[in-house]
């Protein structure tokens, strides 16, 4: 502990920095349960008459389901219920629909085709795990195997198999306009032309499985008064609650979710696939149902950190200054969107890394392939590109013959510098980190750089947003009509320029999808700004002739904002409704031949239909629970307390 060195001077303006915990030993509040083996993970709740649910899964990367024969199963001992897609009230979802980002693109149980190995098509509930497994083995599925694509750039070819019917171009639609996320800052092409060296590199990361010790799962059981209790491994209790309510088309007030004690997650337990299945099982059978992945499922079906491929091109001066950097990035989203679309927004906002580079451009693609869908894992969206950037920095150092730490110090961002996503950097401290690393590792650095400070020399000219070259290349669907280049500005038929100093546009925060999830200002304890819907029809900030200006910037700066929930306004539950993300979209230019995506439909002004579930009207958060649940959490099936 004594080796920790605090440099509070670098963050003096930020916060009260009297650290109460860091650097001091502490006892976890939950550790007594851990060391006595009495912490209750989701599977540590005993229920009499517990049933077990298991899925029939695809053995193929990509296949059409011709027919499913369950006749043998129907006669089997111990089989209580066969769960079919038709049992799911609303069998289509995308995880971020809860913040209205992206379109529903994934079925809980696939109906027509499967797009990754292990995708579930049917579930069986039986009286024991073994019987459920035996029954799953007895299901006969007639598959029509389809051609598959497992590589991101092959998936971008015009003739590539369509992985995801909702996104037939194999790319996520960004801002209802492009098949990728753009970032434009300055003029990379001119800077490349004037640079002494061009340094290019390609970097690839494989998918990484979070591999928590506890596998994903949930136990759901009927509770008193028509509620369902669900003990879950989720890392995102309200994602799971909202997703379950949506897929099963029931008010979330009927769902009593219990989580919080998680046997490791690391991002792998946010996808909310197990909770709707367990709750559905409990509803269909009226009994407690456990849906738990085994280790093989955790590894094969559990969504990993996605693979990423990055190509970086740097323009470098002989003295080591990087004057331009362009990125072409491919995120392997797997078969469905999950969180990759968001990871790209986050990652693009991070470019060009912790360095001040006056000209930056990026095209980043969220690509669908027939691999296991990707999801969150520790810093996802940043980790892969940071790996690439730092490898690239070493490569640049070698080309210009500099010590790699000197190169980083020379190019490091400083407090007050403008970042490419048009936010001013603060609390940068990279310079000081590099200096300490060099000192501890015994590496000599240049005397002038040894004296540098992140607090000095930033801002001024470095705080100015440069005049920026823009393009409209590779709009949604263009790639299906013929191969076109993927890198920034390549293949652009015309380019625009937006004046120096142009910031992005304000982005309307996402809306909750369900009525009963609307934020009540009185409950959150602070003001909640609601943006009027008319904002979505307001004109662009920049001149009308510069059509692409808005799309060059709002993503990174705005995208991170929808995540904090408080700034939210009313919602819709209509599945086909376009995303309200990046609402202030300039008038769509009429591009001949371009498809008219559903996104062109004006925002739905009608209030959302209220769910007409037998459970009654949605929970009104303004009032305390009045649904007759006198002892929430107590199930008549609960037997754990009796036994222990």
């Amino acid at each position: 502990m004594s080796s920790i060195e605090f440099r509070k001077d670098l963050f003096a303006n930020e916060r009260d920095d009297n650290l109460n915990e860091v650097g001091k030993p502490t006892i976890r509040q939950d550790i007594l349960g851990h060391v006595t083996g009495s912490s209750k993970y989701y599977d540590d709740h005993l229920f009499d008459g517990l049933l077990h649910m298991r899925c029939v899964r695809s053995p193929h990367h990509h296949a059409r389901i011709r027919r499913i024969d369950t006749s043998a199963v129907e006669r089997m001992e111990g089989v209580v219920r066969i769960v079919r897609p038709s049992d799911i009230p609303r069998n289509l979802n995308t995880l971020l629909s809860l913040i209205n980002f992206g379109r529903d693109d994934e079925e809980l149980l696939a109906t027509k085709k499967v797009a990754y190995k292990g995708e579930p098509v049917l579930a069986i509930i039986a009286t024991s795990e073994r019987l459920a497994r035996d029954a799953v083995s007895a299901v006969r599925v007639d598959w029509e195997v389809l051609p598959h694509v497992l590589d991101v750039e092959e998936a971008l070819q015009p003739n590539a198999p369509v992985v995801n019917d909702e996104y037939p171009n194999n790319t996520f639609d960004y801002h209802e306009r492009y098949d990728h996320q753009k970032l434009r800052f300055g003029d990379v092409e001119t800077a490349f032309a004037n640079a002494d060296h061009i340094v290019e590199g390609e970097y690839q990361m494989s998918p990484i499985e979070q591999a928590p010790m506890e596998t994903c799962g949930a136990i759901a059981a009927p509770e008193t008064n028509d509620r369902i209790v669900c003990h879950t491994s989720t890392q995102a209790l309200f994602f799971s609650l909202g997703t379950t309510a949506k897929l099963l088309d029931m008010p979330s007030s009927r769902l009593h979710f219990v989580g919080g004690t998680v046997g490791g997650g690391f991002g792998g337990k946010v996808d909310s696939l197990v909770e709707p299945m367990a709750v559905l099982g409990a509803i269909l059978t009226g009994r407690p149902v456990k849906f738990m992945w085994d280790r093989a499922e955790e590894m094969q079906v559990g969504a990993p950190r996605g693979a990423e491929r990055w190509r970086i091109k740097d323009g470098v001066m002989s003295d080591g200054r990087i004057v331009a950097r362009s990125f072409t990035g491919f995120f392997d989203s797997g078969a469905y969107t999950r969180l990759s679309s968001y990871a790209i927004i986050k990652g693009t906002g991070h470019l060009p890394g912790p360095y001040s580079i006056p000209n930056v451009a990026a095209n980043v693609y969220c690509v669908y392939t027939n691999r296991t869908p990707a999801t969150a894992m520790r810093g996802f969206g940043i980790t892969g590109v940071d790996f690439s950037i730092e490898c690239q920095m070493d490569k640049v150092a070698e080309v210009v013959g500099m010590n790699p730490i000197d190169l980083r110090l020379l190019n490091a961002y400083r407090d007050g510098d403008m970042k490419a996503h048009r936010r001013v950097a603060k609390n940068t401290a990279l310079i000081e980190c590099c200096q300490v690393v060099a000192q501890k590792a015994g590496i000599a650095i240049r005397p002038d750089l040894a004296k540098a400070s992140s607090l000095i020399g930033g801002g001024g000219d470095r705080a100015v947003i440069p005049e920026t070259v823009t393009d409209q290349a590779s709009r949604i669907g263009d790639r299906r009509r013929g191969a076109i280049p993927t890198e920034p500005l390549a293949g652009a038929t015309s380019k625009g320029r937006i004046p120096a100093g142009t910031s992005g546009e304000p982005v309307v925060a996402a809306e909750p999808q369900r009525e009963d999830m609307r934020i009540d200002p009185a409950r959150v304890g602070h003001a909640v700004s609601t943006v009027p819907k008319s904002a979505s029809t307001s004109g662009p900030v920049t001149t009308p002739s510069v059509v692409s200006a808005s799309a060059t910037t709002p993503g990174p700066s705005g995208a991170v904002r929808p995540a904090p929930v408080p700034t939210v306004s009313p919602a819709s539950t209509t599945p086909a409704r376009p995303s309200a993300f990046a609402a202030p979209i300039p008038p769509r230019p009429t591009t001949p031949g371009s498809p008219a995506p559903a996104a062109a439909v004006p925002a739905d002004e009608t209030p959302p239909p209220s769910p007409s579930t037998p459970g009654g009207s949605p929970h009104d958060p303004g009032k305390p629970f009045q649904q007759g649940v006198r002892r929430p959490g107590v199930s008549r099936f609960l037997s754990g307390t009796r036994r222990r």
Partner: protein, 267 residues
């Protein structure tokens, strides 16, 4: 559902085996299949036969009961030469469970002990009293009738026997490959060498080209050079999640040199 049958002797257990049953030894392989509901069997056959865990010296050889666990091998003074092999398998819990007999049937990439038994001229005794060289048993293990009751191996002199397990995770991991060599010498020259690889094919296999190249050689850098040149001749390692076939071929001569010369592979 499964039916479990328990017998007093291994011979009775062997007699009860049929196409839909599996013999349960230490459980590390069969119970895994049970847990994942392997549909190829619905009967488990087991025995309480105490004779399966005996270890006894028979002249120049030693007989090891098929029911001996890895921990039994580590604990017995007479099998000290095999202790480093047994210790390389699993963690302590696995070693308290996994048996010698089971290791002969462990699929790729398991079977490190079987690799050592192969190098030490192992001969298995089956329930019908017949004897079969480990090499032949491994080659036909998918069709074999009956059960192994014990295995005899030579008791190597000095440091004639050496073993190396190569894994990517420290301190414990599954084999990228394991290598067992037995190099008896007379007058300083190797005579009757045995070189066996684990995880370089579907079963542990002998590297016969390398064995021939060691014949009459001295156990030093120049003496073994010819064997290293043919280190993987006749072998077809597979690609798997641990290593590619190419990688296994590339590194095999390096590891073979280390094990033959007793070089520390650095942990």
């Amino acid at each position: 559902m499964l039916t479990v049958e328990t017998y007093q002797t291994i011979q009775q257990a062997a007699g009860a085996l049929h196409g839909r049953s599996r013999y349960l030894g230490g459980g590390t392989l069969v119970m895994r299949a049970v847990n994942y509901a392997d549909q190829d069997f619905d009967h488990l056959v087991r025995t309480r036969d105490p004779n399966l865990r005996a270890i006894q010296i028979e002249g120049a050889r030693i007989r090891i009961g098929a029911g001996c666990t890895m921990a039994d091998i580590i604990g017995a003074a007479d099998t000290a030469f095999l202790a480093p092999v047994a210790r390389a398998i699993g963690g302590p819990a696995i070693r308290n469970m996994a048996t010698v007999g089971g290791n002969l049937f462990a699929p790729h990439p398991y079977g490190d002990l079987a690799t050592a038994l192969l190098a030490l001229d192992g001969i298995a005794r089956l329930t019908d009293g017949s004897e079969q060289p480990v090499e032949a048993l491994l080659a036909t293990r998918n069709q074999i009738r009956g059960l192994a009751t014990s295995i005899t191996v030579v008791r190597p002199m000095g440091d004639d026997f050496r073993f190396l397990k190569v894994s990517r995770v420290k301190p414990k991991g599954v084999s990228v490959m394991s290598i067992a060599v037995w190099t008896p010498r007379s007058g300083g020259r190797i005579s009757g060498a045995r070189v066996a690889y684990g995880a370089m094919g579907p079963t542990p296999l002998r590297a016969k080209a390398a064995e021939r190249a060691l014949e009459g050689a001295t156990r030093d850098r120049s003496g073994i050079a010819a064997a290293l040149a043919v280190a993987t001749d006749g072998l077809s390692p597979a690609d798997d999640s641990l290593a590619s076939a190419w990688y296994r071929r590339e590194v095999a001569p390096v590891h073979l040199r280390r094990v033959l010369l007793g070089e520390d592979d650095t942990r």
